[in-house]
Structures are given as structure tokens and as C-alpha cells.
């Protein structure tokens, strides 16, 4: 194993046990809902944050060991870390930013400046100042700066977030071809699917690593597809033991047990527990009827299809795209409803699982 990590991150409200095993030259995708700790994992790997306890080693060199009190400083880890925000150096122009890392590590140049500048389409803006760049341009400069520092391990946090689709496709291929080991955080299942060989899924308080192919096979074929959501409790009905909990602009009515207003709960909706209707339904036992837009429909098991649907975006955060629901329905239902990408439909949620809670210990339970 090239990268071997096992550590615990503590937050005021919950903790996360991380376990990563990555071979040389492989790419690990980290996938989970927003606020689940994806960025924290990268910060620990980069040496920006100290975890609560654990060990990290890279090519047998210990980076971190709380037992042996080892904590290798970021500049000695040979990493290139592209954060979610660009954090460009405003005292340098674009070229100066790109060369900053390369200047520190002159010893080995595997990746040429011209190649990166070409691939990231930065030729025309090399002399520009960071203040004059658009969001997408800043992001590309930040990506180029991380790559040109000639790292042995590349850490990318939502690298394609503010890029247009054509450029995104182009850059996904470029990143795929880079020779070093990579860890990529993304909320986009398709980026993870194309770029990575291993997938780390954040489920409640633990992580689960598997081959990306396997992860996606499970997702599509075995009926194991699910989505994870961080909800905030807004209303409590102690009589019926129901809570109204919200994620972004979407609110759910769920039996979450004993809660208080403001509690955070992570839940998992399984594709097999969700059905689809063209109109909201009344006179039914179903409490949750969520307006969604069909993103795509893929063939799953014999006679079944998997429908991916996006919920209302959170306008301020531009975070609608990672808030998907998946539904398993029969091929015939799909035909009867004539479901096409872009259709506005309603998702009916029958059940869910609670993954993490605020106070009690971790517990996975299925509630109808």
C-alpha cells in the first residue's frame, strides 16, 4: 500500500473514523453528502489539521502517528493540494502562482509547465493578476499550481465544481492521465465513476472503501443504491413522534425518534424505498412527497431501472446537484409514466435509515 491511513476526526457534534488503503498510482474518490467531513479528510492528509488520533504513512514513510508523536509538516509530504476555494497568492500573477510550488521543489520535474498550461487553457491569462480572473479561471490556476508542485500525491477538493461542461470533460481526462496517486473529493457520482479506481463512501461515523466498479455495480444493479442526507430538525410532534427536518429548501416528515429543534440527523434513503408519481398524491399513507427533476434513468436488474432525481437546489450555496434521490422502479412503470431526463415528478419516500444522531451512539435502524 502506498497510502495507508487510519484516523479519527472529532467534530463538536459527531466523529468520523477514516480508513484508507491506496496503491501506487491509484485514485481514490471520496463521496458523501455535504457537511459529512470530506474536506476534513483532505486537510488531515495534507497536514493542515491534526486528527484526534491515528496513523498515516505514505510509501512507508510515517506522516502521522499520534502514538509515536510523529506529525510530518506539509512541506515535507510531497503533496499537491487543491482546496475547494482557490486561495491564490495575490502578490503574484498567474504565472507566479503556477510556478510557486515548482520553485520550491526543483529536484524533479516530471510534469512540464507548458503541458499543464496548455491542458488547463491558461496560456492567454499567464500575465493576468488573480483579481482579474473569473471563478472558473481561478480554480484552474489553483489546480495547475497544485499539479506543478510535482507532487507524489495529488489532493483535489471538488476540482471541477465551477467549470462549464465541455471544459470539465476535458479536464477530467487530463487529471485521469496524470501519473501520480490521487485523492479526489467530489459530490458528483459521475466524476467519481470516471476518475477513480477506489471509492471511499462516508456513511455516518465511518468510511467504507471499495473498488469504484464494485461500488457502482452495487449502486446500479444490486438495488443497493441510496442517497445520504444531513437534515436539521425544525419541528417536533411528540404526540405522533414525528419530526419535520430540512435539507436546503426540501423538508421531510420523518419518524426520527426523540429529537429537539436544531438537532442534526444523517439519514439514508434507499432506492428501493422510493417510488415515483407524476402528481403529488393525497389520501395515502405516504407522508413525504418531494418535488424532483429526473436526471437520468439507467437499466439495473432485469426488469428494473434506476432513476436519479435531483431535489430543489439551495440557491445561495449552488448546492442542488449533489442532493440526489434514487428510485428503483420496474421497466413497465417507467414506460407507463414515460419518464425522461428533465421531467418534473414527485418522489414518494416510504422508509429511511438513521445513520448518525446528535447525542446517542451510532445506530442504524430502518423505520417504516
Amino acid at each position: 500500500m502506498t497510502l495507508k491511513a487510519q484516523f479519527r476526526i472529532k467534530y463538536p457534534r459527531f466523529q468520523l473514523d477514516v480508513r484508507i488503503d491506496l496503491d501506487e498510482g491509484q485514485t481514490l474518490g471520496i463521496w458523501g453528502p455535504s457537511g459529512s467531513g470530506k474536506t476534513s479528510i483532505l486537510r488531515v492528509l495534507a497536514g493542515f489539521n491534526l486528527p484526534f488520533g491515528g496513523e498515516i504513512s505514505f510509501r512507508r514513510l510515517p506522516w502521522l502517528s499520534t502514538e509515536q508523536k510523529v506529525n510530518l509538516v506539509p512541506e515535507k509530504r510531497q503533496i499537491g493540494y487543491m482546496l475547494q476555494d482557490p486561495f491564490l497568492f495575490s502578490n503574484y500573477d498567474v504565472k507566479g502562482n503556477l510556478l510557486f510550488g515548482q520553485r520550491q521543489r526543483e529536484n524533479h520535474n516530471h510534469i512540464s509547465f507548458d503541458e499543464v498550461v496548455e491542458a488547463l487553457d491558461l496560456v492567454s491569462i499567464l500575465d493576468r493578476h488573480p483579481r482579474d480572473l473569473s471563478g472558473g479561471e481561478k480554480q484552474r490556476v489553483s489546480m495547475g499550481r497544485a499539479i506543478l508542485s510535482q507532487p507524489d500525491l495529488l489532493l483535489l477538493d471538488e476540482p471541477f465544481a465551477s467549470l462549464d461542461p465541455v471544459r470539465r470533460q476535458h479536464l477530467v481526462e487530463f487529471i485521469y492521465d496524470l501519473p501520480m496517486s490521487k485523492v479526489i473529493v467530489s459530490h458528483d457520482p459521475y466524476e467519481i465513476e470516471t476518475l477513480t479506481s477506489e471509492t471511499l463512501t462516508l456513511q455516518g461515523q465511518t468510511t467504507h472503501q471499495q473498488h469504484t466498479e464494485q461500488a457502482w455495480q452495487n449502486l446500479y444493479e444490486e438495488g443497493d443504491a441510496f442517497s445520504l442526507h444531513n437534515l436539521i430538525v425544525e419541528e417536533v410532534d411528540p404526540g405522533d413522534e414525528l419530526c419535520r427536518a430540512r435539507e436546503g429548501s426540501t423538508s421531510f416528515l420523518l419518524p426520527l425518534g426523540q429529537r429537539r429543534i436544531g438537532d442534526r440527523v444523517q439519514v439514508k434513503f434507499r432506492a428501493r424505498d422510493i417510488s415515483i408519481g407524476l402528481h403529488p398524491i393525497k389520501d395515502s399513507s405516504i407522508l413525504n412527497c418531494i418535488p424532483v427533476q429526473v436526471e437520468d434513468v439507467v437499466e439495473a436488474r432485469p426488469g428494473m431501472v434506476l432513476v436519479r432525481m435531483s431535489m430543489e437546489p439551495i440557491p445561495a450555496l449552488n448546492k442542488g446537484r449533489d442532493r440526489f434521490l434514487y428510485a428503483h422502479i420496474t421497466r413497465r412503470s417507467r414506460r407507463t409514466l414515460n419518464l425522461q431526463p428533465g421531467d418534473r415528478v414527485h418522489a414518494f419516500i416510504k422508509g429511511m435509515a438513521i445513520l448518525t444522531q446528535t447525542k446517542q451512539k451510532q445506530q442504524t435502524e430502518v423505520l417504516q
Binding site: 497536514g47 493542515f48 497568492f89 495575490s90 502578490n91 510557486f100 508542485s149
Partner: protein
């Protein structure tokens, strides 16, 4: 008549240079630390802001005097007294103007945050290099404010100088004291000349801060 002016200028320049060198690491440490006794240090640094200059000058006089901790050491070492000397004046000014250097620097470091510094280090830069090549240039506004404020503050100091430096022409007789002297002996003309210079210089200095900050603001 212009001797106090030259002396004051010299004092201010020396103080600013030394203070920026001393205050930068202190301000950076204060901006980064999460230690519990950070407020203690911050209060100590800020003390000259609220203390009457005469109180500060009195304690400095005791400390720097031939029988004080620092003063006696200095006498042993150089054979000269720190009080009523230019060196003593510089030391007193350093203490007196310390908050004017530390606070603008600290707040500009805090505004910048530590992420740029960490990114520079993740790109392979050693801590000092990351600090000098990224943090300092990006906190330029703080340095300009700190420098100008210290300079102006040192130009106008009176109480501390009077206590520690006295009124020795060519050695410790700075502008504000010279003005006071002229007024005491009804030499209003001379007092006017010196005062107007001080007033214009102070105004120009403040304008420099505001104009530069506006420009740097645009530069960001």
C-alpha cells in the same frame, strides 16, 4: 531651532524600523495561537494605549535608570546611563508605540487567515519562506498602517520622553518638548513654526495610510 526636528525624525525612523522587526513575529504568533494566555499577552501589548504616558514613563524611568534591572545592566556593559540618552529614548518609544505596530499587523494577519500560509507550505515552502513570500506581501496594508501609525505616534510623544529622556538639546530634546519649552518662554513664533510642521506631517501621514489602503483595496 531645527535641531529637535532632526532628532525627532531620527527617533521615529529608528523606532519604526525596530518595531516592525520586533512586532511582526509577535503579531503573527498572536494571530495564529489558540493558547489560553493569549489575552494576557494581548493586554500587555495594548497597555500603552490606555495608560497615561506619565505612568508608563515613570515605570520606564525606574526600569531604565542606573539602579533599574535594564539600566544597571546597561551601565555595567557600556558605562553609560540609559536614562536621559537617545538609546533610552528609543527603548521607551518601542514600548510606547508597540500596540500601534502589533495591532494593525495582527488584524491584517487574522483577516488573511492561515490557509494561504498552509497552501504555500503544502507547495513545499518552509515556514519562514511561506511567511515572507506569501503572508507578508498579502498583508501589505497592515505593514503600511503599522509603520505610519508608529511613526506619527513617535513624532508626537511627550509624557514618556519627558520622564525618561528629559530635555537635553541635541540628545533628547524632541519636537513636542521643544514646542512646550517655546510656549513656556512665550516664544510663540518658534512654537508656531514647529507645531505647523508637526501638524502638516501628521496630516500627510494619515493621508498616506488612507490613500494606500484604498489602492491596496483595489489591488486585491
Amino acid at each position: 531651532m531645527w535641531e529637535p526636528f532632526a532628532l525627532t525624525l531620527k527617533l521615529a525612523v529608528v523606532t519604526v524600523v525596530l518595531l516592525l522587526i520586533l512586532a511582526t513575529p509577535l503579531a503573527w504568533w498572536l494571530s495564529q495561537t489558540k493558547r489560553r494566555w493569549k489575552p494576557v499577552l494581548e493586554s500587555l501589548v495594548g497597555l500603552p494605549l490606555v495608560l497615561p504616558p506619565t505612568v508608563l514613563g515613570f515605570y520606564l524611568l525606574l526600569l531604565l535608570g542606573p539602579k533599574g534591572w535594564i539600566g544597571s545592566f546597561w551601565v555595567d556593559w557600556t558605562g553609560e546611563s540609559l536614562t536621559f540618552s537617545f538609546t533610552g529614548l528609543v527603548l521607551a518609544s518601542l514600548v510606547y508605540s508597540l500596540p500601534f505596530a502589533v495591532q494593525p499587523l495582527q488584524s491584517s494577519f487574522e483577516a488573511l487567515g492561515s490557509t494561504h500560509y498552509l497552501v504555500a507550505r503544502s507547495l513545499g515552502a518552509k515556514p519562514l519562506k511561506a511567511f515572507l513570500k506569501v503572508v507578508c506581501p498579502m498583508s501589505l496594508r497592515g505593514f503600511v498602517t503599522a509603520g505610519v501609525l508608529c511613526f506619527a505616534h513617535t513624532l508626537g510623544e511627550f509624557g514618556v520622553v519627558l520622564m525618561v529622556g528629559g530635555n537635553i538639546p541635541g540628545k533628547t530634546r524632541v519636537l513636542s518638548i521643544a514646542i512646550y519649552d517655546h510656549v513656556e518662554s512665550f516664544e510663540y513664533h518658534q512654537a508656531h513654526m514647529l507645531s505647523i510642521v508637526l501638524l502638516v506631517v501628521s496630516f500627510l501621514m494619515l493621508m498616506t495610510i488612507y490613500a494606500t489602503n484604498r489602492n491596496i483595496g483595489r489591488f486585491r
